[in-house]
């Protein structure tokens, strides 16, 4: 049995549904872990990286920002 036979036996019409479920689940996992409160401090520093060159002075005034 060739690889082509194996692939031909797959029910390709369900590929979109399977893909949707898998990537929907992956999206949810990433979303949940990213928005846990515990990660706030780490991300707070990261978001100021582009402004560090300018002294990063605004970090204090931005502490009440979204992150």
């Amino acid at each position: 049995m060739s690889l082509s036979d194996v692939m031909s036996a797959f029910a390709l019409q369900v590929f979109p549904e399977v893909g949707f479920v898998l990537f929907g689940a992956a999206f949810l996992v990433i979303a949940v872990t990213m928005f846990l409160r515990r990660n706030r401090t780490y991300f707070e520093r990261a978001r100021f990286l582009p402004l560090e060159e300018d002294g990063g002075a605004r970090q204090g005034s931005e502490a009440t920002g979204h992150e």
């Binding site: 990213m34 990660n39 920002g65």
Partner: protein, 734 residues
Amino acid sequence: MNERLERFVYDDEIVRMFLLVTVLWGLVGMLVGLVIALQLVLPVLNFQTSWLSFGRLRPLHTNAVIFAFAGNAIFAGVYYSSQRLLKARMWSDALSRLHFWGWQAIIVAAAVTLPLGYSQSKEYAELEWPIDIAIAVIWVVFAANFFGTLARRRERHLYVALWFYIATIVAIAVLHIFNNLVVVAGPLKSYSIYAGVQDAFMQWWYGHNAVAFFLTTPFLGMMYYFLPKAAERPVYSYRLSILHFWSLVFIYIWAGPHHLHYTALPAWASTLGMLFSVMLWMPSWGGMINGLLTLRGAWSKVTEDAVLKFFVVAITFYGMSTFEGPLLSIKSVNALSHYTDWTIAHVHAGALGWVGFMIFGMIYWLLPRLFQTELWSKKLAELHFWIATIGILLYIVAIYAAGLTQGLMFRAFDESGRLAYPDFIETTVRLIPMYWVRVLGGSLYIAGMVLCAWNVLMTWRRAPASYAEPGHEAPALAHAYPAEAAGGGFKHAAWHRRWEGMPLTFSIWVVVAVASASLFEIVPMFLIRSNVPTIAAVKPYTPLELHGRDVYISEGCNNCHSQMIRPIRSETVRYGEYSKPGEFVYDHPFLWGSRRIGPDLQRIGGKYPNLWHVRHMDDPRSTTPQSIMPPYPWLAKRPIDFRALAGGVAAQATLGVPYTADEVKGAAQLAREQGRQIAQSIAEQGGPKGLDETRLVALIAYLQRLGTDINKSSAVAGTDGRRADAGRAPAERR
């Protein structure tokens, strides 16, 4: 903690170089765009000159704008922001210069070869194999320089902009290499190793993701760096940016098949492409919202600052385009929009609005910093913004209207059930007023570009004789990992925080994301036989027909004519039986096209006598009054290159096209004989004599063959021995 500080300076010279050529190539690419827009309303502007004809200039326009204008802007943005985010000078000044000059040489080579008719025909991948190899080499140079800089950085955390750059570098390399795998047939001639359905699939896997990873991810990286800099505020949500990044990288790569709805592509692939395209709404709008909310508290600055104005409109266009893209991927919408100017409007909303305005905002922000002087004129920058905004709006509104008009006219039936507009030319002529508005809108956008160029030039003139090179200090990268990144366990995403500091691991995961998604589509597409049911009656092209196909590609006919009749009633009534996958098994490359400025040609074979084609090519308006097609008088004067013809047949045989050894060996003689017969019939019909060995005869041979094989025999066999179209209603004949 007592850390030893290291001193370093950034290489801004390379950024200045890339920025200046961005402006130069932007002007060139847009001017060529204006020329071809004018040719559609005034065909006389083709000047009966081969290298000025629409079919050859259109790929020059798209390649110049994408790879020269946007490409150089990407490099300017990446080189400027990466050094600062990594607190390190680029790894190698020599590689930076090699990258710059190599890329400019590639652009010049493209600007010469495309108008001369050297083309692979695949959209945004038209350049021939020697230039493709050069692109791969220079891209590796860029990658080595970038990853070398990552390796010697002084900042542990990789800011999100850098993730987008990594994805760009990795994905473009993969896409470019696999879409350009060819068999060489001559110094500037090659054939795709893929054929028909599979070639179409690979092309739009590439084409869609060229938009994703050349016109989207690098600009998102630049947005995440330059917008906070210009607004003097951090990005709204760093966590949203992470979500934005991974969702885009995972989802985008699947979406390519939506460019081929209702074609001969298998339905499963088409549906997969649609579903993942719709899913793209999520991350795209996450990114747009993140960009716009970064300006919270800084909106007052937008009224005073041209840079922020450009960025705000750019992000707004990003939101609009990424809403419209998934909309167009829905099959029922696509049935209306495909092959019409709607696609052109969509592309230009993204290219002029999102990409163009991001570039202009970045240029105006960088100018005073790079040239160490004040911007020459802020008022001129403001004027540029308003002129360009009005220009875009005029352009896209007119072309959206044209696309909808065209789509509705294509499919309109009268009360008796016949096509309301049976002559294709009716659907073209109706668009001319809208094409004029496009010329006006495009001219305004280019006028803005001229103002930008003037501002750049004058700012450059005010620059100091020698640039100061301010030193910077930062501690060397610590070997120990920061405590805040290490702890927290899986559910607190410590794994991701570690990746963010490890470029190699991070890059590998990007490769895994791109490759796995690609293989999930590519492997079944190539391995499953039922995707392309064979048709016994379909035979390889004769040597002369194959050479005629090369002429068709060289003249860029596929830029205006499709060769794909969808199983939609309005199309089968207008053009004939719908196209089947098995009809294209010898088509290296596929030539389905993506828009119809002229009619579909899939069933043109035998529709008109040879003499009609002679007259049509010499002067399209002599056979079709009001036609906007360029004339091709040179085809009747230029002789066939029989050595190239024989090389083409041999290369196709290498690809598995079943030519016999005698056919390969005697290709030139076979072609001469067929050419003589066609030329004789033309003379007998009252046409010019002596066309035997001209390119025109080769093209006519090809056109007369198109779509005729399935009429030769009813033996249409599927993999299971049944007719491929068994169980379907017979399509209407012309």
